[in-house]
């Protein structure tokens, strides 16, 4: 009994010991900096950039409110709210678009014969390993005024002047959906791959229509994969800043660009740090929801 207990403890000690290099690196270069961000959010803004070491709630205050320069009245910061709203809206739209394209794609891959399935899966992952910047530039070539879509439409005589897609929310949506599509397909594929197709037969035998089979049998069973895909696309969309900056231009900002602005021209590090913390909290809450949802469906995983 006692020996077993000691063994148990040495197991744990070894586990910690072996993990130490990884943990040290991560705490030093990943967790530590995050704590410093949280700390900076409650300090006072420096004159040009950086912070003064005085406690202040101004960074957090300015996340939602603004103070009039002349009469000091406090009002909601409309500009910030519209940026939050645009970020959430675009991220939800991106998630839905990738789901509509991703579900049939994952289904298509999972129903291929086993020997070619790996090939199709590989095709999905290649763009994923291509640099984000390159993929965004590729989309730019497609949607800009002199780009492929407009040139083709004009040559075909369908339009006389190019449609302005660049620097609109639509361009950002197209870009983000393009960039994050593989992140939706992969978890959906994993879920469909484990799917027992006899259940569909059973559904059809019981006179279900195709739509009923999809709604009543397939979607509930692959739900963990759907939730995983939603989270995997929604979180990076919300924090994206490269794609919205290149495709949306300076005017159509998302939270990521707004944060970047505070550390650059805005020179308000505390506000930027507070915004980063808010974004981080949103992500953590969605992670908790995800973990809850997936552990309810699969108590052993």
């Amino acid at each position: 009994m006692k020996k077993q207990h000691r063994q148990q403890r040495s197991k744990g000690a070894n586990g910690w010991l072996l993990s130490t290099p990884a943990l040290l690196l991560l705490v030093f270069a990943a967790s530590g900096p995050l704590l410093i961000v949280a700390l900076y959010s409650v300090l006072e803004k420096g004159d040009y950039s950086g912070v003064r070491w005085i406690l202040s709630g101004d960074g957090w205050f300015r996340v939602l409110f603004e103070r009039d320069i002349f009469d000091q009245t406090v009002s909601l910061a409309d500009a910030n709210l519209s940026i939050f709203w645009r970020s959430v809206k675009l991220s939800i739209a991106t998630t839905l678009v990738t789901f509509v394209l991703g579900l049939p794609t994952a289904w298509f891959i999972a129903t291929r014969p086993a020997r070619v399935r790996a090939f199709w899966l590989f095709l999905i992952t290649i763009p994923f390993w291509t640099n984000l910047l390159i993929r965004t530039f590729a989309i730019m070539e497609v949607v800009r005024n002199e780009g492929i879509v407009n040139t083709a439409l004009m040559k075909a005589g369908l339009i006389s002047a190019p449609i302005q897609i660049m620097y609109t929310d639509t361009a950002v949506l197209i870009g983000m959906a393009y960039v994050y599509l593989p992140l939706m397909v992969l978890p959906l594929f994993a879920a469909i791959d484990r799917f027992d197709f006899r259940l569909i037969e059973a559904g059809y035998d019981l006179y279900a229509s195709r739509w009923q089979v999809l709604r009543g049998v397939i979607l509930p069973i692959i739900k963990p994969g759907i939730i995983a895909g939603f989270i995997l696309v929604f979180i990076p969309s919300l924090g994206a800043y490269v794609t919205p900056r290149l495709l949306g231009g300076g005017k159509n900002m998302m939270i990521g660009n707004f944060i970047e602005l505070q550390f650059g021209q805005g020179q308000n590090w505390p506000l930027g740090a507070a915004l980063s913390t808010v974004l981080l909290l949103i992500v953590l809450v969605s992670r908790v929801i995800y973990t809850r949802a997936s552990s309810r469906d699969n108590p052993h995983g």
Binding site: L25, G239, I259, A273
Partner: protein, 211 residues
């Protein structure tokens, strides 16, 4: 009649068409970019004939050379460091049952995957600008450190997957034959683990190279 012939429970109407569309959408922009890199003219609107001119320009550009060399050095170091740390952590956290604090280790290791990119960028900017002022060291060291930390989960996950699928019988046999723990690791565990380690190292290298 046609329905009776081709009715397959695995097909859903429109799914294949949308899937093909997805693949086309994924590849068309990248292929265009690749094709136009061989363009002789300097605008995407006109095709000036096939030419390697832009590659010559890129390779002869000193800034491009420096940047490429720097990226490779950082990626090489980062993948070596992160894979070593990740292998140790994977050995420490698998196949020994549950122990106290395991969840904490998982959370810390997977943290870089969960934090949005802009928050990571901002956090590192603040942190290293403070450290730079404090120590006076400005060099690749910071980048290598940050990349190593960021790549750990990408190396850890495939290695752990490989370890979890591995049988412990061989190691038990080695221990029975009086192999020291190090010998067991060097001649039994590591060779068996190699595919996972290579996959992890390659992932870490790619991730580091493109960040």
């Amino acid at each position: 009649m046609a329905k009776a012939r081709s009715f397959d429970v695995r097909t859903l109407p429109g799914f294949t068409a949308i899937a093909i569309l997805s693949f086309v959408l994924l590849y068309a922009p990248i292929l265009t970019l690749v094709v136009y890199s061989f363009n002789g003219g300097n605008s995407v609107n006109q095709w000036g004939g096939f030419s390697l001119e832009w590659y010559v320009v890129a390779f002869n550009n000193e800034a491009v050379q420096d940047a490429t060399a720097r990226s490779l050095i950082i990626a090489l170091w980062a993948s070596v460091i992160s894979t070593t740390a990740a292998t140790m952590a994977a050995l420490g956290t698998t196949r020994r049952g549950r122990f106290k604090g395991q969840t904490v280790i998982y959370i810390i290791i997977n943290q870089p995957l969960m934090v949005p990119e802009i928050v990571t960028a901002v956090a590192l900017l603040i942190f290293f600008s403070t450290v730079k002022v404090a120590t006076g060291y400005t060099g690749l060291g910071y980048l290598i450190l940050a990349h190593s930390a960021f790549c750990i989960p990408f190396a850890y996950l495939p290695i752990r997957a490989r370890l979890e699928g591995m049988d412990t019988a061989m190691e038990t046999a080695a221990a029975d034959l009086y192999a020291t723990p190090w010998q067991t690791f060097r001649y039994i565990t590591l060779p068996l683990l190699m595919p996972g380690v290579i996959a992890g190292a390659m992932l870490a290298f790619i991730i580091s190279l493109e960040t």
